[in-house]
């Protein structure tokens, strides 16, 4: 393996000069720099990451912590892959690698992250699937590791995050349904301790109030964020004596299950029950009737996350900003037929 030593003796200069030449330091003759650069390309030299990290005290890597669902049951489809694409692109421009840190669902995310952090495996981290009271936040703050969260937390403390604009989604969905005459609108939220459920629930309640609609606690339906969860939402709806005329869902997989349950009951979405989904996934186009839902660019979301993270890293003084980025990511309505009915 060719290191800086071999490069230096090949050029018959000192390793210090080689290093300076490669790192763009000013105190090196331009003629020498050119020779070094050429030799490096010729010999296929690249700095050893371990040596560099040790000396610099930084790894040039940021971690993206996701929970790797052990079996394919769950909701997340191409979501993370899309975000990862945006992240890598934006980070690569600053010579940062992305390290995906998949936390098994059988392990406590806090403990997993602690192991990563204390070993100094990455310079900064992105956490996802944030909980209402997420212990990872104080951990990262105490360790002084720059971070950003994909998803708000419940805490009042300030930290950088990017989240989907649930308020906007809830407002658009409810306003649209209200305009069609719906007065009894239900919402399905995930039953896990993930913060998303709370946020979406609150946004929904606010949207109801803004549209002058009454709020019935029974209309908040908790379910697993999976296809089967959507099926159980159908069960719940069908069992209600005072059945809502419309329902708003999170996760496209829920929509699939609900469609199936309705179909079994001889009901048609958009005719017997207005359905508004959340994120437009690859399935939404196929569902019949077409699902009214919301669209976003996963690539842009990843880019936005990267920018927000870089702004928290003192190692990038030109991008650094004192106040943490807190950004709601807009989603655009995709009109379908699943909420076509008027009432």
């Amino acid at each position: 393996m060719v290191g800086i030593r071999r490069l230096a003796q090949h050029l018959d200069i000192s390793i210090g000069t080689v290093s300076r030449a490669l790192n763009g330091r000013p105190d090196v003759n331009e003629e020498t720099r050119k020779r070094v650069l050429e030799a490096a390309a010729e010999l296929g030299y690249a700095p050893n990451q371990a040596g560099r990290s040790l000396r610099r005290g930084a790894t040039s890597a940021v971690g993206f912590m996701i929970e790797s669902n052990d079996e394919s049951e769950s909701n997340s489809d191409n979501f993370f892959l899309g975000v990862i694409g945006g992240l890598t692109g934006a980070l690569a421009q600053h010579n940062l690698d992305l390290v995906v840190l998949p936390c098994s669902t059988s392990e406590d995310p806090h403990d997993y992250l602690q192991r990563i952090v204390v070993r100094r495996l990455v310079d900064a981290v992105i956490i996802s699937a944030t909980q209402r009271n997420d212990r990872r936040i104080p951990l990262l703050k105490k360790a002084g590791i720059p971070f950003i969260a994909l998803g708000r937390t419940g805490g009042a403390d300030q930290h950088a995050w990017v989240d989907l604009d649930f308020e906007g989604v809830a407002h658009k969905a409810v306003a649209r349904l209200a305009a069609k005459g719906h007065k009894q609108i239900a919402v399905a939220v995930p039953d896990s301790d993930i913060n998303l459920g709370h946020v979406f629930r609150n946004a929904f309640v606010d949207a109801l109030a803004q549209n002058g609609l009454p709020f019935d606690p029974d209309f908040i339906i908790c379910a697993k964020s999976s296809e089967h969860g959507g099926y159980t939402v159908g069960d719940t709806l069908l069992a209600m004596k005072n059945r809502p005329t419309a329902v708003v869902l999170v996760y496209e997989m829920m929509a699939i299950g609900l469609y199936r349950r309705l179909s079994e009951a001889g009901l048609v979405p958009g005719r017997d029950l207005a359905v508004v989904g959340f994120r437009e996934g690859p399935l939404a186009r196929f569902l019949s009737p077409a699902l009214t839902c919301f669209r976003m660019s996963l690539l842009d979301l990843g880019t936005g996350l990267a920018e927000g993270l870089l702004a928290t890293m003192p190692a990038f003084p030109d991008l650094y900003r004192a106040e943490p980025v807190q950004k709601l990511w807009p989603m655009e309505l995709v009109e379908g037929e699943s909420d076509a009915m008027e009432v």
Copy 2:
């Protein structure tokens, strides 16, 4: 940050002894070892990864190279997440981290991998989406990096790989269709230079021969491995004067597009055209009529990949085997209604 130095001075012993105690070396008093372990836990010590990597010449990380499709168009959904779950579990048992290396589709995978390898970012790699003549193989061999491929390559050279049992799938699919009287069976394969297409195509031709069925080159349909690709497969089929009575697909997303195209033409899968899909994804259960396809455990696949990789790593002498693992992963038929018709 607490390092081995602080730990040593806190215990008033030398750093050498601390290191030996932590690494389970025999030449340290058990009483001393216990004290060191306790102090390490108390002070929250964990070895700095950069220092350790530099000294050991190994990073304790294996890379999993995937291509991160820039936009959500493409096929891969929960596939990688599932495999990652299996990988992390199996690797963690040997104190190995998994680093996901997402290669942007705009970059040459070979160049991307070279940058990773030359910087010694990982000890071993798993490559996926192998091409027929994959330049990454000689790169890794030359660099002496242990690796395993998820997907066979076309080359005759020996290296470790795990691949799906396309032969088994093709044979089961064709035999099943032949038993129902089908004589004109088409197959849709991806049009990219990924090796999967060639393998699947060959397996299909073999299966035809084994079942005494004629082979018509027109019945090999190339398409993008996406929902839209499936739609174009439908276009191609409908435009044929001598239309096949059955079609076998790869990728579940293709099935969705094909269903949509057939529906637009007023045709029903399983009645007007027998459809056999490939991998059972979260969507297959929902398609109506239910898609006949094949099932596998992504978790087990990940575990198998990890085992095959460990067997190539000299750093694990007890697992090391001279001959590289080459394993076809079986898939189990999931009976649906999409190929119910007889002819």
